[in-house]
Symmetry: C2
């Protein structure tokens, strides 16, 4: 064993899990915050901002990109990363919907 049984879950559950997993690391949360804060796209600045090696940051960026949360555009020597608005909004919607399904009721344990 050791691998998730994706086949027994819905497409939606798997997709949400992938997105959340991409965000579920302090370094990647910090990267997203930095990208959002700088509005325009950043790249190697992240290596200096956070205290991680270049290879590590690059790997984290790849994971965020794979999940579709960010997008990178080559700009000369460097690469400019920014939020993917479509995916970002999609995720926001889905999470919002997910959280709002819960409603506190007294008859619980």
């Amino acid at each position: 064993m050791g691998l998730t049984k994706t086949e027994i879950f819905t497409e939606e559950q798997n997709r949400l899990a992938v997105m959340l997993k991409a965000m579920a690391h302090p370094a990647r949360i910090a990267i997203l915050q930095q990208i959002i804060k700088a509005n325009a796209c950043i790249c190697g600045d992240l290596v200096e901002e956070l205290g991680l090696a270049q290879a590590t940051i690059s790997q984290h960026l790849k994971e965020l990109k794979n999940a579709g949360i960010i997008q990178g555009t080559i700009e000369g020597v460097s690469v400019c990363y920014c939020i993917n608005p479509t995916v970002w909004n999609e995720l926001q919607q889905q999470l919002s919907a997910f959280f709002s399904t819960y409603e506190l009721k007294t008859n619980c344990c």
Copy 2:
């Protein structure tokens, strides 16, 4: 290596990462959905609902409980699990705030 460098991140970043990580698995998303749907708390029903072994479900429940997202109350032979309203709302607030920091601007890559 192989372990996250939590010391270089803020308390908030680490906390959010822990919560998201707890939710970042299709089985645990399914479990949360089931718990919310059934409103009142469930337990071993989850084993039948999802197609996973009892030990596996128990482990997933433990992770959700460790993150504080759910809480379990012993009820005779069985254990009743339900959402922890405080943590749930906290997480909802934090995520909402996080997502709303982003605002689309044209001058991007």
